[in-house]
């Protein structure tokens, strides 16, 4: 009897102790774990590229607006447009601010709502952010390939487009602090909210009412009829068994009727294995600018296949075209040359595109 009572109690204590221990950080043995090694100075320099709002971490260097324009046109314009205004691939970088905003430090259009789409320059309050981001992540398909002076130059061009600095301004580690004082939305940020400190008080508290709570019975918003099938057929996005089915959104909703609605059970078709060429277009970064069905930077592969359908010598022509690059057929945005891609793989990818990219 004694033992029987003792065992569960001891077990209970052990579990309770384990529960506490699980939350606490483990204690290192005397002398440490003995793993890891000191980072060398060169290693820290190679990776520690962040630039803070107080410009700690900013590398020495400089750039001009005119040099920036050259770099921009070669490396940036195909996605962002010549004047950083393009809405084709990414949201516009520039627009929506006024010289008056540079004085107040508030992008006025954010409060008035007069500019429907927020550009980067309308939002960002810290010029360090722009330097840091261009330096670490741009250009899109070849990040970290700009020299420090090219980053300064591109940023100078961008700031000039945004009417923050004049055309003859030389942006450098010495002058960037002046620019900070002209950033249109530099006073536009607040940290007065409850979502940083876990113990902070939330700004919106819900109701705990359980019975006869005040509600408006009105449905204030629903998906418009034309959008019913915009996300594909929902019937195919649900399980074919269970208490519910996905609605067949290729058809209008069933008229209200006593009883249940039609719910076609759609059995999925097993996926076919991807072709080797599908791997190649990923490997060679084609998907940065092209997709099967929709235009990204360049035309969709379906568009290309349709254009050259049945055309004599299309394959050879396209292999040569992809290799050399160029523009004009599908608009002004140039396709870069791809001299580094082996011919056999180029041909495989062109065949893949001409055969419907499957």
């Amino acid at each position: 009897m004694y033992k029987r009572k003792f065992v569960p109690l001891a077990l209970g204590l052990m579990l309770a102790a384990a529960g506490v221990a699980a939350q606490a950080a483990p204690k290192a043995p005397a002398g440490g774990y003995g793993v890891g090694r000191p980072a060398t100075e060169a290693e820290v320099k190679a990776w520690d590229i962040d630039v803070r709002p107080d410009f700690k971490g900013l590398p020495n260097g400089s750039g001009t607006v005119s040099r920036g324009q050259d770099v921009w046109e070669a490396r940036c314009a195909s996605c962002h447009g010549t004047f950083a205004e393009s809405n084709e691939v990414f949201t516009p970088l520039v627009g929506g601010t006024t010289p008056d905003d540079s004085k107040t430090g508030h992008t006025k259009a954010l409060a008035t709502g007069t500019v429907p789409q927020r550009t980067t320059i309308m939002k960002v309050g810290t010029v360090s952010t722009l330097f840091d981001y261009i330096n670490r992540a741009m250009p899109w398909n070849s990040p970290k390939s700009l020299s420090t002076d090219e980053v300064y130059s591109v940023l100078a061009y961008l700031l000039n487009l945004a009417e923050i600095i004049p055309e003859n301004f030389v942006l450098s580690d010495k002058t960037i602090a002046e620019v900070q004082q002209r950033m249109p939305n530099r006073n536009g940020m607040t940290t007065a909210h409850g979502m940083w400190d876990i113990k902070a008080k939330p700004d919106v508290q819900g109701s705990s009412c359980m019975k006869d709570c005040p509600v408006s019975a009105e449905v204030t918003s629903r998906l418009p009829e034309f959008a019913r099938n915009a996300h594909g057929n929902i019937a195919e996005q649900n399980r074919p068994i269970g208490p519910v089915r996905g609605a067949d959104t290729t058809k209008p909703p069933t008229a209200n009727a006593a009883g249940a609605a039609a719910a076609p059970a759609v059995m999925p078709t097993p996926a076919e294995p991807a072709s080797p060429a599908a791997g190649l277009v990923g490997k060679h970064n084609c998907t940065a600018c092209h997709a099967k069905a929709n235009k990204v930077v360049g035309p969709s592969w379906d568009q290309v296949a349709a254009k050259y359908k049945g055309a004599e010598g299309a394959e050879d022509k396209l292999v040569a075209k992809v290799k050399a690059g160029g523009s004009g057929v599908w608009g002004a945005i140039p396709m870069p040359a791809h001299a580094q891609v082996p011919d056999a793989e180029l041909r495989q990818m062109v065949q893949f595109v001409l055969n419907g990219a499957k």
Binding site: A22, A25, Y33, V35, G36, A39, V44, W47, P53, F90, L110, A111, K123, V124, D132, Y133, W140, G188, M189, T190, H193, M195, W196, I198, D203, V204, Q205, G206, S207, C209, M210, K211, D212, C213, V215, E218, V219, T220, S221, R222, L223, R228, H231, G232, Q237, N238, V244, R245, G246, A247, T249, T254, N256, A260, A261, A262, A263, A265, V266, M267
Partner: protein, 448 residues
């Protein structure tokens, strides 16, 4: 079809396994006729037939083909072991996939795929269905060449290999990860049809790794000066986010394990940061560097994106914690209830401030509420599964769920949220979700 045999009262597989409206109606009529007959014979018979089974009518005859005619799999030899060296879901489950929301993003490498919450059970997200968010495309990095550097306000800046990290004391913990922009499309109005797109930037896994505090200790963090840490990824975007020091010293994990195996490449293989309760963007993937600092960094994803626009034109910066939230996952938008009667209503609740304490469900658009059963383990900063029974009488109904966390924070309505934050915030929408069930049984995403 050669084997097309019409048998009253059973569901016939149509070509491509579609059922037409007529066929379904036939099945229902037959079932109702059978139920009437059975009731006339005695209530006991009716009770023996499970309500909700569309095949119940078959019992009126000799029985169902599915029982009377033994199928191949009962009479033949099945597949050998290891036929699939890495197991796959059943071929019947192919409808439940990660999907993109058309038109949401324009470049597939800086995009999102949503987790199919509408068909999932429990609290753990199968790794292959975990939502994706990439900023400059994903990679499958050679783990033997991956390094983690810790520098900044530490005694010794250090470099660790994966071999070394995996020798350190490790923890395994279940946590949800939710994108700060989850439900962001719905701030102003209904924009998407199903819970996959409205709430699917949400997943929950068991993560295994070393506590960040262990590494910070190992490098000799300067606790007098340190105020934040910066996490940085090894991919092209080299994503950076500032993390509060109290979070970093508490439960943040430098993780390599996910649901018993290594992280999937789409989720940061071989190393990612797990920041429990904090929005997904801070869970830096392909983690290469931790810097201890004394001021926030205002990186691109905390000075251009992931800032919440308020009605006065100010942006809230460094919003991080995902506040209390819940959603009914079945039945949900785009699904159809097959008939009247009993349904198990199920859904998920979570909070970045700790455990879920209570979930209430309403079937009348928020007028009356009833407590749901908490049906999973309840772990801090993890998804929590709730269930509640409901008998649908065939009339229109608006279903809602509302969660309360252990800090006492109650999930707000759209009205309450918009009164403070307006409709242009994009981020941190934790409003109560409404699903309208129409007489037809079809469920619609609405705001009430």
């Amino acid at each position: 079809m050669a084997d097309e045999i019409v048998r009253r009262g059973s569901i016939k597989l149509a070509p491509e396994n579609f059922l037409t409206e007529t066929q379904l109606q036939e099945a229902r009529t037959a079932r109702r006729q059978f139920m009437a007959k059975a009731l006339a014979m005695g209530a006991g018979v009716a009770a023996a037939v499970p309500a909700g089974s569309a095949l119940a009518a078959a019992a009126a005859g000799a029985g169902e083909k599915e029982i009377l005619e033994l199928p191949e799999h009962t009479k033949g030899l099945g597949q050998p072991v290891a036929a699939r060296a890495y197991g796959q879901p059943s071929k019947w489950e192919g409808g439940l996939q990660r999907r993109e929301s058309p038109g949401l993003t324009r470049v597939p490498q800086a995009s999102v795929s949503f987790c199919p919450l509408q068909g999932m059970f429990g609290i753990i997200t199968p790794s292959g269905l975990h939502f994706e968010r990439h900023h400059q495309g994903w990679w499958d990095i050679d783990p033997s060449k991956h390094r983690l550097m810790v520098n900044g306000l530490v005694k010794v800046p250090k470099v660790y290999t994966m071999d070394e990290l995996m020798r350190l004391p490790q923890v395994s913990r279940i946590h949800f990860v939710e994108c700060g922009a989850n439900t962001g499309m719905e701030w102003g109005n209904v924009a998407v049809p199903t819970v996959q797109y409205s709430h699917g930037m949400l997943s929950c896994s068991e993560f295994t790794g070393v506590l960040l505090s262990t590494l910070l200790d190992d490098c000799g963090i300067d606790l007098k000066k340190a105020k934040v840490v910066l996490a940085e990824g090894a991919d092209g975007s080299s994503m950076t986010r500032t993390i509060a020091l109290d979070r970093a010293l508490d439960d943040v994990i430098v993780a390599w394990g996910q649901n018993g195996e290594m992280l999937r490449p789409e989720n940061g293989y071989p190393l990612r940061l797990v920041v429990p309760g904090v929005q997904g963007v801070s869970w830096v993937k392909y983690l290469r560097r931790i810097e201890v600092g004394d001021m926030p960094y205002a990186t691109k994803d905390e000075a251009v994106h992931y800032i919440d626009l308020m009605p006065d034109g100010q942006h809230r910066q460094y919003t991080s914690i995902q506040e209390v939230k819940s959603v009914i996952t079945t039945p949900s938008g785009g699904q159809v209830l097959l008939e009247k009667g009993f349904y198990n209503i199920t859904g998920l609740a979570w909070s970045g401030r700790g455990r879920i304490k209570q979930v209430d469900v309403s079937f009348d658009g928020g007028r009356n509420w009833k407590a749901a059963d908490i049906s999973s383990v309840v772990v801090p900063k993890a998804l929590t599964r709730f269930n509640v029974g409901w008998v649908w009488d065939g009339r229109p109904a608006i279903l809602q769920a509302r969660a309360v966390d252990e800090s006492g924070h109650v999930q707000p309505s759209y009205r309450a949220l918009r009164a403070v934050r307006g409709t242009k915030s994009i981020y941190h929408n934790n409003a109560i979700q409404s699903w309208l069930v129409r007489e037809s049984g079809e469920v619609f995403n609405v705001q009430a």
